[in-house]
Symmetry: C2
Subunit: 257 residues, 2 copies
């Protein structure tokens, strides 16, 4: 028996400020729920997405990934356009576009799975100095006082490598096999915003937000850059800094082989 089933990998951008996170919930608007409903209606069959990251409410994405299998006739090179038209409703310009967008759709081998085959991720966390800006309130963490970005960047360098990052895991998280992770790169860049760019083979729950809160405390002079080493060695969440808010966080990239 010949099957026409395709295994499709989507790259998805979304504005997290209008969603209760990625994961499907019965009574809340989520990215997964919204995409599954739209694709199921469009393709006239039940679509179940395997997403790479369960981003929290308020967290954004430039490059979330999700895969699904379906026997669909749309050529892969037209899928992003067809899906986006369905997500937007219409594209005549008289309409403020959809908060979620398919950046890319590609066909993968049948055994590929967006989450299980993921080899790592990159997150960006965006901070603004000074007064709140009404247009950026859902997209940046505003810190009133001056930040020493060079000190934050030095502090970030101590994250690189393979460590037990238990100190940066939200307390009360479900027990995991291991809290050891490898950070490939971590740097703090100064520009219109101050941005933490961090990539690694995996992240614990709230890890990037707790790292950001700790780096902000370094930037404010409340901690020294080298304190990061002692905090990591302590394996103690209470030794690390505050959890930065969700709306400054962006899932930037997901890596595969």
């Amino acid at each position: 028996m010949i099957t026409m089933e395709k295994n499709i990998l989507l790259t998805i951008a979304y504005d997290g400020s209008v969603f209760h996170g990625w994961q499907r919930q019965p009574a809340a608007r989520t990215v997964q729920g919204h995409l599954e409903q739209t694709l199921s209606r469009l393709l006239k069959r039940d679509i179940i997405l395997n997403g790479t990251s369960r981003t929290d409410a308020g967290v954004h994405a430039y490059g979330q990934r999700a895969s699904f299998k379906a026997d669909i006739g749309i050529p892969v090179e037209k899928m992003a356009m067809v899906f986006n038209n369905a997500l937007c409703g219409r594209e005549d310009g008289a309409f403020a576009g959809a908060p979620v967008r398919i950046v890319k759709a590609e066909e993968m081998p049948p055994e590929f799975h967006a989450r299980f085959d993921c080899k790592g991720k990159k997150y960006i966390y965006k901070i603004c100095r000074g007064q709140q800006d009404v247009f950026l309130r859902n997209y940046r963490y505003f810190v009133k006082d001056e930040l020493d970005v060079a000190a934050m960047n030095e502090a970030a360098s101590y994250l690189i490598g393979t460590h037990d990052f238990k100190c940066f895991e939200a307390s009360g998280s479900n027990p995991r096999e291991t809290t050891v992770r490898t950070i490939f790169d971590a740097k703090v860049i100064d520009g219109d915003s101050i941005e933490l760019h961090i990539s690694g083979d995996g992240f614990l729950y709230n890890m990037v937000r707790i790292i950001t809160g700790t780096l902000v405390e370094v930037g404010l002079g409340k901690r020294k850059p080298g304190d990061i080493k002692t905090i990591i060695e302590s394996k103690d969440r209470t030794k690390a800094g505050h959890t930065a808010p969700p709306y400054g966080l962006y899932l930037a990239e997901v890596y595969y082989e």
Copy 2:
């Protein structure tokens, strides 16, 4: 009898995407309604704001102005901070800030009125080329095709001066004494966005949005820059272009003597 009543002028920034326009409405969230409720609660008396511009749903402001009179004890230099704390609820950073912000509060002479004393306004209209961006969907007009910005800027130059702008007034608008207005300056600037900066002594209903729609048609090559002159002379709305959507429009400044 000595009165302590002050006449306060506010400069207000807001993200129009979460409001049904400026003007108070019984059953919809508007900027005026939201501000009046917050200030009335804070100051423990009924506050009525005289706003300069009744911006439409989706339209943003960097510098809306509104005045009110009240016998209040807060020193004028602390008002913006006190009002913003009330608007935000709290300012501890764990909270995505308020969509409306008092940029400045100043005390004016008793006879001053924010709307009647207004001598002119500046608007900015922001356009992006290419594909929709989920983070800018409420803040830019997306035009898919390439735009000739130099041609748009030439077209804009024909707007400068005193003209009867009836062609750029939404059809069905309430009859006015005159549709003659003076445009002080109008230019189209190329950058991250394409921006129309336009200032004048007053604007008809939807005037900046219809001008923008007409300039976009010039940018797309559907009209010539010099057509603006003929359109103005026609005094005929049907000769002008489409009405650009509200969410690209920003009330930038209000001018007084």
